[in-house]
Symmetry: C2
Subunit: 514 residues, 2 copies
């Protein structure tokens, strides 16, 4: 039997899934690694750690899932965006990988926002003005780490580096290249101005290829360890954002893909490059005639997890005794409170925010407290706040993509029926939840099939997605959200005036981060 491995190099771990050619899953593996954050705003990972995680994850799914003499035809790659590694002329890393969460280039993003050049660059490249972008990381390195900058022979992302380690081929596919902010979104070539500003030359960057580009001939020692043939194809794949959108079947313009995992995102494909005049959304070319527009959101399920830990310590213990999932139990508690949480409104910006604010200083808040409110209202307000925030990003997206034709949602947060219904009620729109949970890996697998000539239309991924659940908005409920959301949005503006002062305070008093 033939297999394809879809592998997703995430921020905290790498997941590999072993599929047969019909999309059935035979094995899963998950390998974590360390995020280095020992300096403020730093968020680095060791490329060798990540390489090893991919090796072990593949080894594990092969060992667990393949019986008799099955054969892995291809390994197809999904990965985190915005990572940056400097390599010397022998392709040896001069830095760890700077992840999307690394904010040390903040000063340069702020400068570019201030002087208008950020907006101009955004219009060329589709990268919002934010330190996550390799464009800004390069400005920071050029100005503040000149030694590394001067020694760098190549600049690559983590996926390119890993594929190079396996194959000795250094290429970059378009979606990942776009997320660097160095790619011109109209030509899908490296952008001359971006290169000039960062003082990076084309020959320091990988050659650009399509997402379905395949490489044959991996190093024999790695093939042996993983238990695959040396003739296995490596398919370039795409960014996790692009793939998880494809993987829920959101292919056409105006079909929204919502993902609420640890972080969250709202995305849609469009046929033409589309920029948001207020630079709240990214826009990256993904493949021929397909551009992905969307808003990346820091404060997704991680905020639910915070509330879970910070407010419900005792209940967590109770859940354990009941042999219940504690997130499920909190969701049950939240269900006992009326929609709208008795007018308690939560802004979920615990960790600063990308879309819709693009403000690293943003902080969370509860507003509207009266004496009727308890922790039960707080937990419901937290869930509602996460969804209001997604909705406010969607309002920006709608300005570009029009009214949504359909809304597809995935991620840990929609494991709960309450979360799914809340999406339908806040959006006042049917919400469809595909059954396949690992949408990124599924899409990676599908790209491999296209690459191998076994599929030819992106739309055909829908065959693999399987059954879906549908949630319709409830009249009585959305009436409440309709009243509260404008307050939520107006308050966002009011509160924003004090984000810098409070974040400065929190940074300045060292014990204030405990």
């Amino acid at each position: 039997m033939d297999y394809i491995i879809g592998i997703d190099v995430g921020t905290t771990s790498t997941k590999a899934l072993l599929y047969d050619l019909d999309g059935k899953i035979y094995a899963k593996a998950n390998k974590g690694y360390t995020l280095y954050q020992n300096v403020p705003d730093m968020a680095e990972e060791d490329p060798e750690d990540i390489f090893n995680a991919t090796l072990q994850a593949i080894q594990e799914v092969v060992a667990k899932g393949i019986k008799d003499n099955g054969k892995v035809l291809a390994i197809s790659w999904s990965a985190q965006q915005h990572s940056l590694i400097a390599l010397d002329k022998d392709f040896k890393p001069l830095t760890r990988t700077l992840t999307w969460a690394d904010n040390r280039a903040e000063k340069y993003a702020a400068e570019y926002k201030e002087n208008g050049r950020g907006l101009a660059m955004y219009k060329r490249t589709g990268l919002p003005i934010h330190p996550m972008g390799p464009f800004y990381k390069l400005l920071w390195l050029k100005n503040e780490k000149r030694d590394v900058f001067d020694k760098a022979a190549y600049w690559v992302g983590i996926k390119e580096y890993i594929i190079w380690k396996y194959t000795n081929v250094l290429k970059e596919e378009i979606s990942m290249a776009a997320a660097t902010g160095l790619l011109n979104m109209k030509t899908a070539e490296w952008d001359e101005e971006a290169l000039k500003e960062t003082e990076v030359t084309q020959d320091q960057l990988p050659e650009l290829v399509e997402t379905t580009y395949k490489i044959q001939g991996i190093k024999s020692e790695y093939a042996k360890v993983m238990g695959v043939g040396e003739d296995v194809y490596f398919v370039m794949g795409a960014t996790d954002g692009a793939l998880s959108t494809i993987g829920v079947g959101a292919i056409e313009t105006g079909v929204l893909a919502i993902n609420i995992g640890t972080s969250a995102a709202v995305r849609s494909f469009v046929d033409e490059p589309q920029v948001d005049p207020k630079a709240r959304l990214y826009c990256y070319p993904i493949m021929n005639g397909k551009y992905l527009v969307g808003g990346p959101i820091n404060n997704g399920g991680i905020v639910f997890s915070w509330a879970h830990d910070a407010l419900f310590g005792a209940e967590k213990e109770t859940a354990k005794l009941l042999k219940k999932d504690s997130f499920d139990m909190l969701t049950e508690i939240a269900e006992k409170v009326p929609a709208g949480s008795n007018g308690l409104i939560f802004h979920p910006y615990l960790g600063g925010e990308r879309a819709p604010l693009w403000d690293a200083n943003a902080r969370g808040s509860f507003f509207g407290l009266n004496r009727s409110h308890t922790r039960a209202h707080m937990i419901r307000a937290v869930l509602e706040g996460i969804v209001y925030n997604l909705y406010s990003v969607t309002l920006a997206l709608k300005e570009v993509t029009g009214e949504p034709k359909a809304i597809l949602a995935a991620g840990g947060f929609v494991q709960s029926a309450l979360g799914r219904q809340m999406l339908a009620d806040v959006y006042e729109h049917e919400v469809v939840i595909p059954d396949s949970y690992e949408s990124g890996s599924l899409a990676a697998m599908f790209l491999a099939k296209m690459s191998l000539g076994l599929e030819d239309k992106l739309e055909d991924i829908k065959k693999y997605i399987g059954s879906e659940k549908k949630y319709e908005p409830d009249d009585a409920t959305y009436e409440r959200y309709r009243r509260l959301i404008p307050i939520y949005i107006r308050l966002s503006r009011e509160l924003a005036t004090e984000y810098k002062s409070i974040a400065d305070y929190q940074r300045e008093f060292p014990d204030a981060e405990n």
Copy 2:
């Protein structure tokens, strides 16, 4: 031996204390009554209930405290302000007593705020523009309860009514009269304009007397029940606000009295009528050459009690097992968090607010949440928020009274060393905590002594106050509060723009008050 009883007719209960002439306490009694709130914004009490509570409380302290043939020389009265009862020509109540917490006159207060007449009346009477004031209650009754209004032969407060029940004498002393908003603060006579606007005539109001005015000759049946002689003096006394200020020894201009009980207040005596151009403070004549300026605050310890119940259910049980006071335990938890609560700021307006906002729609909020915050930070932020709010009222008071010469604090909140130190740190000023906890009754007793010619200078109350504790601001701590308070104050303005919309939502969805 001779005794004096100080009795305080509060909002939820009446407390009587039996003193000897040296101010030593021999017995205490406390009798509660019902607050009727069955209609939105209504807050009424039954005058007969309250009368009975006073009778029983006096009976109890006499029975418990007096040995042999001791004699009660006088019973001296403190009471809640702003209450209003309509009496018919036979002095029978036509209404229950409308307490200060009754907000049904809101529409009239709003109208007077809008059209500027509220400010003009405030400048004459010292009553802030708020439905608590009998002036506004009369406007409401006149317009919306015309039958009662037309039948009323007399308008009185609860203290006057009770004293009348005991003595058949209907008089009102100046401090209580001032709190109606019908008294001209400069002349200390009923204000012509206020009477014209409310269509109340002088002969419908009690005759005005001094706070030390005494009445002899109570009805024999009541004397018998209470166990006192028919020749006992009833001393008019004053408002609870005036007496608790005198009772901590804050007599001179610029000596601040802070009280944080269920509600809270910041007050100071001044020698001249003083109005706040922004009408944030009241100003009432109390006695010859003594005017009380201050801000009444709804959200005092009641907010700590809310946090205690709403956020710390499990810990309350733990405290019980430990045989610890659960408020003490929460204070201990709050002490484990650095001052400034890691930049978490709480606005305590759970129940609307009088000073400094005078906005019944105000609501509570937490601002500045990051992932480091837990319930421990929340409880500390709640305590700090209560104190920041008091401080912001004090800023308004300072505009009138100048820099404080001394700060004296009392009330349940300052039972904790943390609360006391927090006051010193936020105010950046020494805070003195008198030992005598029942400052209102003590001052009532002292007024009785003046009335009986046993004391003649108000300042001499200090002899009775006993020992004090002093708290000095801590450098490292107040630096933090100095950073956070301006953010707190600026945010107050930002948040205020959405109080009406959220309060409207909470009123409109009936289940949203559970």
